[in-house]
Subunit: 426 residues, 2 copies
């Protein structure tokens, strides 16, 4: 990244020394994990550029948006409807949460037995190393799991612009009414923040932008069902991660460009790994940048990841908003309908997630499933115990890996993953 | 307990050898912790008898109820409205969850990082040592914390009569609508189970019974504000625990009898400990029978517990149902109003709990607060971190103790508690 940005980071209140250290680790990790891969699609060059500028040019763009009078809204969850944000010409960005930072400071505010994702969100704020959060006009926290719900009460002291969105726990009529009321409230909050009244025309525009972005991801996902796999799981994960940060139409075009390239590959029978490479479906907790540990272990152990049943993956991107409505109410209802289908493990029961895992394993021709649980994430880890039994009963091999962001268990995880991959080869 | 009950336990499907072992430990614990106390009110004799017959006579009574055509409903939470159960001439019982049992079997179904309370509920079922759960016609699970919500999905396979009650996460208008819808649904389920239509007259009778039970607990609580404390915290906790098991009018009369006795004590200036004994307010996670570890450590370290801000304590028993309504709807609304005030840490924000802790510390003249967190209980432990700061800022000494049901940390906890009590004496 260019030296130009130091003044910008300083103006945002970042701790430059700590931020330099972070960028150093991030750059080295990206080099070792992504750039060392073979047979990458040329279109990934765009994502390499995006990542090299993730705290640089993209932040400059956001600040330019602000200067032009537009607003930046930060989020930690796929339940925050980007359609409503885009309808008000504002920008939604996922906030930093994929690496340990300022852990000692974090553990003064949060229990040690809090998952790494939540601790990381606090660490990036406390350590002053996240330019995204410092650039936001509003941050949305949502009542998903206990860990997030209760930690937002503490984050509220650190973030004067924190907005809380309530969520239901069951897919009942009252649950849906609650979600609808929250989305209407959120729409009003966005209107108040931006000074823009969101009418049906604006909503339709927001829906159209985000539907197209998701359609590109659906296209990419479908191409991964080819044998041999035309793209690595790491590269596909990267696209899923950048989904949360990038300018929407530019991202959409870049993913579609990769898809064009992959279609050519598939026609030629070319793949990123040999066709006999065991195919893995990942399922479980989201992996935010730069949490690439487990996918890297899997793909350096002789397997290829062909799908992510994850919020940063198909759980987050599947299903579209029906844009056929013409009134504000019809379009808002369509947004509620789409988001109410998200099968996060905070819902009970959550059969549709299990069905989706089985469906994905079939579509992507997965030889096995690796369930990724973030340590202390009760919803996903508890759900994975029943999931394991169901998949096994269907003859789908599965292992459950619970870990955090530390590198201490890499050797141990590699041993487990290699044994699993070997087993799949038989 | 009498040998008479072996056939009853066997008929209920209990594992007699395991159950004998449990009763042995329970009896010894009760002897060492409760019966060794000095200056106990004579009225505690009733509770000693209740505890000696907790798996015997009380179960016989429940089975007699069933033979007479009445129904038994089990619960794990103070959000299950006993008024509705009593209105249908049914009996509500709290289910066993205060000791580790069959841990190895439990950890095949639940993550190890699940709190001891939830693991215990599973352990009593899997180990076949809880006559209460085996005597139930319906068990109510409720969506409070992630741990319970997600584990009920697994418990559902073990309990054919499990009924799930959804709960809101915020005290909003939609949250209240959700609770009301759930209580109406629960009322219908109880009507279906019992064959009794719950009208306004029946509701009023249920409300009256439970209000009187709570009024007795309010009376007991108020008497504990006297200096010296007229009753030990252990004995008061026992009354709070038996609250969930016993026949309602008999329990109410027994607590009132103790209160008569305590009033006489207070007039004479008599107490259970010397008047200079440091006074502790306990706050935090519920303590189910036989989880007496921390109160026992506190009261054997030279302090007296004067109040419990807990579900098994004042969080569960405070506030009454307004019985002035005359229609079914008015009375159901009054029930919803009362339960919606419960300030469980699953709600966000939860300021009223903090206010209540401060209020209780004042009313009961507490010298300090001990916050009890069950390990891996995210809602209470996360909330306690902010609570500690607020209490300290008000000059109320506080320590936070996170533990489980094992005895391994007793020495360590005793050292911490003794140091805290010594500090309070200065």
């Amino acid at each position: 990244m260019s030296e130009d940005y130091r003044q910008m980071w300083s103006d945002l209140g970042l701790d430059l020394a700590a931020h330099d250290a972070l960028l150093g680790v991030l750059g080295k990790g990206y080099q070792d994990i992504f750039l060392s891969q073979k047979n990458r699609p040329a279109g990934m060059g765009y994502f390499d550029f995006v990542m090299s500028e993730v705290h640089g040019l993209r932040i400059r763009e956001l600040l330019n948006e602000k200067e032009a009078g537009r607003k930046i809204i930060g989020s930690y969850c796929v339940f925050v409807p980007e359609e409503i944000v885009k309808a008000a010409d504002a920008t939604l960005v996922g906030l930093c949460a994929g690496a340990d930072f300022a852990t000692e400071e974090v553990e003064k505010l949060l229990p040690r037995n809090t998952c790494a994702l939540i601790k990381s969100a606090f660490g990036f704020k406390l350590g002053k190393v996240c330019p995204y959060i410092e650039a936001t006009d509003m941050v949305v926290g949502e009542n998903t799991c206990d860990g997030k719900k209760k930690s937002y009460e503490i984050l509220d002291d650190l973030l004067p612009n924190l907005y809380i969105m309530d969520l239901p726990q069951m897919k009942s009529q009252e649950g849906k009414a609650l979600l609808k009321a929250e989305y209407i409230k959120f729409k009003k909050a966005v209107e108040q923040l931006t000074g823009i009244t969101i009418d049906a025309v604006r909503l339709k525009k927001g829906i159209d932008l985000v539907n197209k972005k998701r359609a590109a991801m659906h296209r990419l996902a479908k191409l991964r069902s080819a044998v041999p796999a035309p793209i690595s799981g790491l590269d596909a994960l990267l696209a899923n991660q950048v989904f949360f940060y990038d300018d929407v139409p530019r991202f959409t075009a870049s993913v579609n460009a990769i898809c064009d390239e992959l279609e050519t590959r598939i026609k030629k029978g070319e793949g990123v790994f040999p066709k006999e490479t065991p195919r893995i479906l990942m399922s479980g907790c989201p992996m935010a940048v730069p949490n690439w540990k487990l996918p890297w272990i899997i793909e350096s152990s002789g397997a290829v990841i062909v799908g992510e049943e994850s919020c940063i993956g198909e759980r987050g991107t599947r299903n579209q908003v029906d844009d056929s409505g013409t009134t504000e109410e019809a379009l808002m209802n369509a947004i509620v309908d789409r988001y109410f289908e998200i099968d996060c493990a905070v819902f009970t029961p959550n059969q549709s997630r299990l069905d989706h895992i089985v469906e994905m394993a079939g579509i992507y021709k997965a030889d096995g499933v690796i369930h990724y649980g973030l340590q202390f994430c009760q919803p996903y880890i508890t759900e994975s115990m029943g999931m394991e039994k169901v998949l096994e009963s269907k003859g789908i091999p599965v292992i459950r890996i619970d870990t955090d962001y530390s590198m201490e268990d890499v050797g141990q995880l590699k041993t487990r993953v290699e044994a699993f991959v070997e087993m799949l080869k038989r």
